[in-house]
Amino acid sequence: MKIKSKWILIGISGVFLFFMLVLPLISVITNSLKEGIGFYFQSLATPTVKSAFGVTVLAAVIAVAVNTIFGIAAAWLITRFSFKGKQILSAVIDIPFSISPVIAGLAFLMTFGRMGWAGGLLARLNEALGTNIQIVFAVPGVALATVFVTFPFVSREIIPVLLSVGKEEEEAAALMGADGFTIFRKITFPHIRWALLYGVILCTARALGEFGAVHALSKTRGETFTLPLEIDALYLSNSSESITSAFAVSSILVLMAVAVLIIRNIAEHQAKKNEENH
């Protein structure tokens, strides 16, 4: 009886996962190869796809850099000190998880766009300096939106690790006269290595794939489009060839997603091993 219900439940899980998650994955690949392997590579080499690839990678690099600095600082602050308003601070960090990415795009439009207060400021600055810096509908806006949606990833991964390690080691080191940088390098960093790596990977994956927020802030195909926007444009142009191209570009992002899942599995395994060693 017990064995029977076990296999029924495993069966239900397997069927559910196959139809909901695995089948869509397979379908991207089969759709992308519909016109043959030559067409596949051809669709990856068009100027708009290449430009989108560049913008996407740039935005992802910026997002990872900003969020790593923020993530470490915020995790250090939240796990190593007690202060008033910590709960609120920690809730505010999570805001990007719970609001629609479209609203993130809207927020930057309202801030740096023609209607926004910082938009006027920017226009005056450009006039004074004779420059032409644009944020919305330009690459900086895309980068900002990407930073916004990936904001909590690194700190969310590090905080639980630092909480479970405790702060005794750092306190001891500080009492013995070690400076902050040394404490971080010698004590904290070895603990958070894998969590940091995983946070960075999640952040990269999300940055490469962000759609809604960037969609509101980027309107020029071939200049400010990211890969997901390029996929959208290809898919909506509605000829069967361009739809196949859309899936070809998608397949790149699918490979990345699968790589992320595998690295996550390894990172988690390593983290568990580390825990056992301690």
Partner: protein
């Protein structure tokens, strides 16, 4: 006594870097999150209450809210059922392929929403594998609320599984054994012993999946068809449409309602977690 201890802890910040980390955190938080969101609030307060009400009670806006809320609610419910089964299987059983199954749960987090959107749309269209199969059963999935809900189930499943898994791992199987020895049936044990323990985690997962669903954009806009007459427009789509027509007052008003909704869900999840923490610390 505790108060004194806390105060003592505060005045003796042994570990360096408080000022620096506080500075970096607050600066970045302000620039990236707080100031842009405040701009939305400031802009929306320029609308008079009457204008605001008019903007958010337009038929297509109300319909979009209904569609987003109902479909997300239904999807979150389906995810709660399957999420519970998946978490149970992954925590309690050993079987070949378990690690792969555990890994693949997170696919919806890793897969870009636009990719998920076009794939699901193709798969469930009349010519797609699943669309053809459902068509035989007389169900039309693509460009209807059915398709929309399927997309929301896709993106919501990891939230429920990942909320329940850690709690289930710490749950002692001895309570179930005790219940079984005392003569409780399987269903009874589940309902009386396991479900109350998992309740808060299940609610958290439900809340997170629901919140994600209400704000979802990329994965739903292709499969839903975005038809106002069939009421398959979601809220995010309506906001984006208004942005494209440079109708900023309309977009902001809807965004404000959505921000309020997600705030409510966050508050709910937070309350559930605080309640749970209190209960476990009593034990």
């Amino acid at each position: 006594m505790t108060k004194q201890l806390v105060r003592a802890g505060k005045s003796q910040r042994v570990i360096p870097g408080f000022g620096l980390s506080m500075g970096i955190t607050l600066f970045m938080l302000s620039v990236i999150i707080l100031i842009p969101l405040a701009s939305v609030l400031v802009y929306s307060f320029q609308l008079s209450p009457r204008e605001f009400l008019e903007l958010i009670t337009k038929t297509n806006v109300v319909n979009a809210f209904k569609t987003s809320l109902l479909c997300s609610l239904f999807a979150a419910f389906v995810n709660s059922v399957f999420g519970l089964i998946l978490a149970w299987v992954l925590v309690r059983y050993e079987f070949p392929g378990k690690r792969i199954m555990d890994g693949i749960i997170e696919l919806p987090f890793a897969l870009p929403t636009a990719v998920a959107g076009i794939t699901l749309s193709k798969l469930y269209s009349d010519t797609g594998v699943m669309g053809g199969f459902l068509g035989l059963l007389g169900i039309k999935a693509a460009y209807t609320k059915v398709g929309l809900t399927i997309a929301l189930i896709f993106i919501g499943i990891p939230f429920v599984v990942r909320s329940i898994q850690p709690v289930l791992e710490t749950l002692d199987p001895r309570y179930e054994e005790a219940a079984a020895i005392l003569g409780a049936g399987k269903f009874h044990t589940f309902r009386k012993v396991i479900l109350p323990e998992l309740g808060p985690a299940l609610l958290t997962g439900f809340g997170l999946a629901f919140a994600r669903g209400v704000g979802e954009y990329g994965s739903v806009i292709y499969i839903s068809g975005n038809n106002a007459r069939n009421q398959t427009q979601v809220v995010s789509y309506v906001i984006m449409q208004k942005l494209n027509y440079v109708d900023y007052p309309g977009a902001t008003a809807i965004a404000l309602v959505m921000l309020f909704l997600s705030f409510l869900v966050l508050l709910f999840v937070n309350m559930v977690q605080v309640h749970q923490a209190k209960r476990t610390s009593c034990l």
